[in-house]
Symmetry: C2
Subunit: 437 residues, 2 copies
């Protein structure tokens, strides 16, 4: 087959960076293999809504091979990358080894606990659909546990929540949780009152949404407090256990702690033989290739790139632009042309907080409140992949807006490790752990 | 509080039996507590569509406390029943003990492996949403594994499926799988051809859908074979391992085996001090109470009830009728009236097979094919709880019908134990198992 003679581009990771690189190679004279450890591309900006039971997993995810079914030069492979051999130009996966002529590493980032990995079990983070379902389960089971709590103190501990980190994810989680406790649940409980929930948002830095201009941070903080969130600024977490968090000499009792504070780049970056920054991101050349291996490109959250003396942020538009740029540079190389430096086009920065509450920074134009919220809604609908997802998510949002309900309040997928696991392991023989009570 | 003085009815299980009992007590002079180990009522007749990636979990489930939010005499509690003390009139749960004046046990049934519990890991069954997500994962990952299989033999083993048991669930799974392999997936794979999947449906008895009249069983068999399913009748499974099943001296190689063969009643039934039948169902008095404890009722799949010398089948309409009957008998007792025998009203029997393929038995009227399929669709839409679910499921079905697509082809919630677990456990330190590749 002559096709085999075409250069092989291997793309590791099917997030925004990897998928946009793959698409931009559609008409290039190459074979492309896109490998991801999941079977889907995830629209990460709406992941918090899956965690908060407003959307279902398939609403914001689509199978990679379905998205790419008509791009005939692509093979999609669900597999886990283990080892990158830049000298030998090959990557070892669980399911075998693949050689490449060009490699695009787009394996992204993961939440990190600043060296306190033991916090992970008490404070789950949010990067994948599995994470989102775990957070959803923690959240819903906390209200259930409050309802059957034997005393007021334990009930309060179940009703209270701490979210660590006031970047966009922390702000979205805190605002949505406050709405759920105030509006979605109250009439459904008999022994506890979800309206008495306290939602604490803890941030080590001096303001919420640190990537925003200070005036918008301040407006976001006020909107959060109006929703009922207690915002703790300049307070670093010093300990987390099953019953709460410590901020130096202050303690907040809460059985549910969510982590939205730190990220660390995918460990694959360490295997490229290049410099990495403090959180493991690979310092790439201006054209996004490795200085020592021009056949290897790094894009998305795994790449540490400067533009106009500022670090390019770890957001979806930057990852898409980098993916497309890496693809264009591969085409340049194949055509014998020089590569050029990546230029980040910053279209703006937006964050949502809750119903009618958001902030938008478009550089010259800044606004907040209801107009920002509508702007955020339409921007996110517009960028969702697939007409079907757009229609479904829009319908969900309209329904939720008028009913205050969240349709995905279904606990599935495992059990909350915080309760009952020990008891369940002692089940009478023959009783299956998943059978209905 | 005077309310506390009202008799306390404790309902264990929020399936059709327990939920209908609870609803039928809405205006009774009682306090009701409904306990389930999950937080939702599940519309089990459509569970196979969640397993086959056609519907999302929240489409066919609703939080029990949301369904019952306006019924003020009910407390919903998410908890796991451990021990029933019929003499002391109390039930011990993980989260504490509850006393009762009347008890309704509606804890249902679970799939069972005829004494071969070791088959469970190779052949998952389908009773809960967690089961459905596991089967979905097995199914989708099998096609992924076929795509990266190193040789033709292994590829064929991943493409082939065995479904054990040709009752309604087995027939639904086999027919849907055949459609997915033939229509939904083919254009998306490059190294494997899902159309070459073989779907084997294995039944120990002499015909499919044994609860149907023989003529409809035969029509169902022909419809299955037209969809491409190989139907093996009168063949009992003698062994199951990770690579296939044995039927006496015949072997079918297939890495994915699904179990739709046997049920066993919830083990709670054993604690009632009453007679149980071969599969653990409790033999109740004609009024559905326990002969020795008239304050205890057993309803739904856990109850063994005769009507007109025939066993009442373990189907949703029977469970609903039993739940409502138990509630009526509790009201009779409270009013000092006698109880009466349960009478099962059999409205008919229907089973779906695939696109335009189903069988319907309404007693005097029997039909199959497209009319039966439309009848099945409307009947199931009609009985779904909530306008929202009806609208969403109808939209999903219309969309799937025209596109041949299944929107929920998203692998979440854990990993397939059959592949990669060992490798994943050897991940380099710091790499999180769920991070995107």
């Amino acid at each position: 087959m002559t096709e085999r003679a075409l250069p092989h581009v291997l793309v590791v990771g099917g997030g925004f960076g990897g998928l946009w690189a793959t698409r931009a190679l559609a008409t290039a004279p190459v074979r492309v293999t896109l490998v991801d450890r999941t079977n889907h591309h995830l629209f990460q900006p709406l992941l918090y809504q899956v965690a908060m039971a407003g959307l279902s997993s398939p609403d914001i995810a689509a199978p990679l091979r379905h998205i790419l079914r008509r791009q005939r030069n692509v093979t999609v492979r669900m597999d886990v990358a283990r080892e990158i051999d830049v000298a030998g130009r090959r990557v070892r996966f669980d399911g075998g080894t693949l050689d490449y002529d060009y490699l695009v590493v787009a394996s992204g980032a993961r939440h990190a606990y600043f060296g306190h990995d033991e916090w992970a079990r008490h404070a789950p983070g949010l990067k994948t659909l599995d994470d989102a379902l775990q957070i959803r389960r923690h959240m819903l089971e906390a209200f259930e546990a409050a309802e059957r709590a034997p005393d007021a103190r334990e009930q309060a501990e179940w009703l209270d929540f701490v979210i660590i980190g006031a970047g966009p994810t922390g702000v979205e989680l805190a605002g949505t949780l406050a709405e759920i406790a105030r509006h979605a649940l109250p009439q459904e409980f008999r022994h506890s009152d979800p309206r008495r929930s306290k939602i604490h948002l803890v941030e080590a830095g001096p303001r919420v949404l640190p990537s925003m201009p200070a005036t918008l941070s301040e407006r976001a903080r006020r909107q959060l407090e109006r929703l009922g969130v207690s915002v703790h600024l300049g307070r670093a977490v010093t300990a987390i256990d099953a019953r709460g968090v410590e901020l130096g000499d202050e303690r907040i009792d809460a059985r549910t702690v969510l982590w939205a504070a730190g990220v660390a780049a995918s460990p694959l970056g360490m295997q490229l033989g290049a410099d990495v920054d403090r959180v493991g991101r690979v310092r790439v050349a201006p054209d996004l290739s490795l200085p020592s291996h021009p056949d290897v490109f790094v894009v998305g959250d795994l790449a540490s790139v400067m533009h106009d003396d500022k670090a390019v942020p770890g957001v979806a538009p930057a990852a898409k632009q980098m993916g497309a740029h890496a693809a264009a540079m591969i085409r340049n190389r194949l055509a014998g042309r020089a590569t050029r430096a990546f230029r980040y086009r910053d279209y703006g920065n937006l964050a949502t907080i809750g119903r009618m509450a958001a902030v938008v920074d478009l550089g010259r134009v800044r606004f907040s409140g209801a107009p920002a919220w509508f702007f955020w809604l339409w921007a996110h609908l517009f960028f969702l992949i697939g007409f079907r997802n757009r229609a479904v998510v829009m319908a969900e949002w309209i329904w939720s807006y008028f009913t205050y309900q969240r349709h995905a309040r279904i606990i599935v997928a495992g059990r909350d490790e915080r309760q009952g696991r020990a008891a369940r392991d002692l089940e009478p023989e023959g009783q299956q752990p998943d059978s209905d009570a």
